[in-house]
Amino acid sequence: MAKHAIQLSKKKRTKYRFQKLKMCKKCNRYSVLKDKACPECGSTFMGIEGLAHSIFKKRLFTEAIRILILVCIGIIAAPTVKALYLSLITGMIFVIVYIILTFAFIKSEYFTELKKILRVDLRKIGAGIQFDSDLALEDVREEKLAAAYEKLREIGDLIYSDQVKMRRVMVLNDIVLRRDMELELESLIPSSYDKDFVKYALEVLKINRALFTKKCIAYFIHYRDAVIRDFGIESLSAVAGTTLRMKLYILEFSEFIEEFLEYFPKDRFLRLCNILQANPDTDWGSLEERAKRLVEMKYHYDPDFKRFVS
C-alpha cells in the first residue's frame, strides 16, 4: 500500500497537559482535540481552567444563596419585628464577609476546584477522550490521516496507553514521514513489543536520529531478538550506531555497542574512537579495549585512525 503524503499542523502546546482538556457545557462532554466547537451540538468548548473558574464562581454564588436561605429562614422564624431586622442585617453582613473572604483565597479555591473536577469527572473525561479516539478512528477509516493523526496526537499527549500509541504508530506508518514534521518517538514506545512501532522507529531513525532517545534504544535492546527476526541484524546495527550520538548513551549501552562494533561504518566507528579518546578518564570498560583492537586490526592503515594507533 502506498503511503500518503500529508501536511501536519503544528502541535498545540500547553504548559500543563491538563490544560488541553475542555468541555462542552451543553453536552457535558470533555475533549482534548483542537476543535473550538463541539462536533455534537456546535456550542463552544470551555477550557478546563475557564471551567474551574466558572464552577468556582457558581459555587461561591451557591454558597451565598445558602447563607441567604438561612437568613431568610431566620427572618421567617423571627418572632418580632426587631428580631426580623436583626436577622436581615446580620445575614447580609455574613454574606458580604463570606464573599470577600472567599475572594481573598480565590487562587487556592481555584486549584481545589480544578483538582475536584479532575478527580470527580475522571470517568467523564475518559469517556470524552474515548469519543475523541473514536473520531480519530473514523478519520482513519475515511483516510483523513492528517486529521486522524492530529487527533491521536492530542489524545496521546494526555493518554499514555499502548492502544493510543499503537494507533498513532499505525497512522504514522501509513504516511510519508518528512523531517519537517513534528515527529515523536519516545512518547510512542509501547510497553511490549510492537512490530509497527519498530518499523516506525527505524523510519524515524532514517529521518531524524535525534529522536532516538535512551528509552528507545533500550526498547530495541530489550526486544533485540524480535527486531532481528523481523527486520534483520542491520536494523539493530543502525540502532547501535545511533547510540554513538551521545557519550552518555555510549557509557549506558557499551556492551550493545561492543556487539555491533565491527558492523559500524567507518564514520560511526571514527566518532566512537574520537569520543573514547576525548574522554580518557572515563571508564569505558571493555569497549575501549575492543575499539583499540579493532583500530589496530582493521584501520591501522587508515590515516583517519592514525592518531588512535599507539
Binding site: L51, T62, I65, L68, I69, C72, I75, I76, T80, D121
Partner: protein
Amino acid sequence: MFKFTVYRKVNMSKNFFLLILVILLAVVSVKIIMAHQKIATYNEAVRLYKSGQLVAAEEKFHDAKLNISVSDHNKDINLMLSILSPIREVMEDIDGKAADYNKENDLESLVSMYERWQESQKKWVSGTSVQKDMYGEMVALTQIDQDMKGYFSSIKNSYLDKLENGTVDGISVEEEIFNLLNKIPTEYYGKGLNAKTTKIQTAFQKYYEAKINKMVATKSVSAVVDEGNRQFSALRGLSMDSDWLEHALDKNLLKVVKAAIDKKDFNAFAESATTIKKLEANMNGTDVFTYIEEATSELLAKAESLTAANKYENAISIYEALKPLEDTAELIAKANLAWDKYEPIRVLERLYPGKEFSNVVKESNRWGADSVVAAISTDGGIYYGRLTGEEAMAVTEGSVEGATVINKLAFQSSLSTSDFPVLYFDAKSSERKHHYLAYEVRAGSMVKILDVEADQLTVDSNHVLLVDNPFGEGEGEIAYFEPDGNGQYQFTEIKVDYVDIEVEDIANYFGKKVRFTAFADTLQNGGALVTLSETFNDSTGQWEKTYALLKGETHFIVYQNFTVIGMFNSYEDIIDENGESVRVPVFQVEEVE
C-alpha cells in the same frame, strides 16, 4: 451521579438553591409586609379603643391577632380581646344562629338563643363600663333586639294566623301550636303579666269557636258533638278554661234540639239528643240536657195521650223515635195491642198476608170481645175476627155467595134473633140498586140470614126490614121482611111510605113524604099555585094570602083538585096577585092519584 459532570451538578445545585431562595424571599417579603401590617393594625386598634369605638377596635385587635407573622403586642392584643371578643362572638353567634334557626323554623333553638341573649345581656350590662359599652355597640350593630322581635312576631303571627284561618288539623297540631306559642317569650305578646296567656287563650278560643260554628253551620250534630268532645279534651290538655265552650255548645245544641222539637222531627230530636249525651261527661247540668230530659218526658206524655186518642201510629212513631233515648219497647207493644184492638183489621192482615181486604168493619166491646172485625177479601172470603185481652185473634171464615161487588159492609146485630154478630152486606145488584146480604156468625160458622135485591133496605124495627122494591115478592113496593124460624129473613107484606095530611099543614112536613088534596088556583113558575090561607089586614086594608107551589112531571089544570104524593123540600119566590114578591114552599109531586 455518574451522569452529571461537576459543572452540571454545581449548576443544578445553584439553580435549586436559587429557586428556594426566590421562594423564601417571597415568603420573607410577605412576612415583612404582614409584620408591618400587624403593627399598623394594632396601632389603629389602640386608636379606635381610645376613641371609644369598641367594636371596630375589637375587629382590629382580632385582625392583629390573626396576623401571626410576628408576636409583637400579642399580650396586649390578647388582653383586649379577652374583654371585647367574648361579647362580639357571643352576640354574633346568637345573631347568626337565631337567623339560622328562624330560617329552619326551629323555635326551640331560637328560644334558647333568646335566653342566651338575655343572660348575656344581664351579665354585660351589670359588668364593667367597657363591657356595657361594647354590648351596646354590638346590639346596635347586630340589631339583635329588632331581629328577635321580628322572628318571634313572625312565628307568633304565623301560628295565630293558622288558628284564625282554621288551617290546623288535629289535637296534636293544636298542642304543638299551643306549646310553640307558649315558648315565645312573654315580651313579644305585649305588656302586662297575663298578656301572653290571654292572647294565646283568646286565639285558641276563637279558633275553637270558629270550628264549632262551622260544624254548627253544617247542621251535623254528631260532628259538633265530636268536635266538642275533642275540644274539651284539647282544652283540658292545654290547661285552658272550657266554660265558654260549654256555653257555646249548650246554646247551639239547645237550638238544634229545640228546632227538631219545633218541627216535630222526633227522630232528629232523639238522634241529636243521643249524640249530645256523649257530651254529658263534659257538660253535665247544662240547659241542653235539662231540655232533652223535659222534652223526652213531654214526648212520652204526648205519645201516651195519642195512644189514648187512638192515634197509635203517631204515638208509636214517637216511641220509635225515642228508642235511642228511652226503652220504649214495652210502650210500643202496648200501643200496638191497643192499635190492634182499635183497628183489628191489622191483625187479619197479619194473619192473611196474601189477602186484600176490600171492605172492613169493626166493633169494640161487643159480643164478649174487646174488639171484633169483619172483612171481605177481594177473592170473596168473609172473615170475622175477635180479640179478647192479649189473646190471639179468633177468626171465623166464610164466603160471599151470589155477590161479586160489595159496596158496604156493616155489623147489623139487630138482624140476629139470638144476639149473634151479623155481617150485613150492601152489594151490587143486577136487578136492583142494591143486593142486601146478611151472615150470622154462629159458633164458628157463618149462616146467611138475608139475601134480597132491592132499591133500598132499612131496618124498620126490631127484626123487621123495610125493603124498597125488592126483587121478587113485593116488587115495586116497599115491603116488610121478617126472620123465619131459622132466623132467615123472608118477605112478609107491602108498606105504605107516606103520611096523609091537610094541605094547610104542609109547612110542618118539610122533607117528609106526604099525601094531600089541593085546589090549583093558578099556574106559576112552572107549577100549580095552591092557596093555603087568606086573611084581611086592617092596617093595609088588603087581603093577604099564603101559598104552596106544586111542581113535578104532572100537567096541572087550573081550578081542579089534585090528590098528590110528594115532598116539601124547598122554597121559591113568586109574584102574588098584589104584585109583590112572596117566598113560598115548593112541594115536589112524585105521584098524582
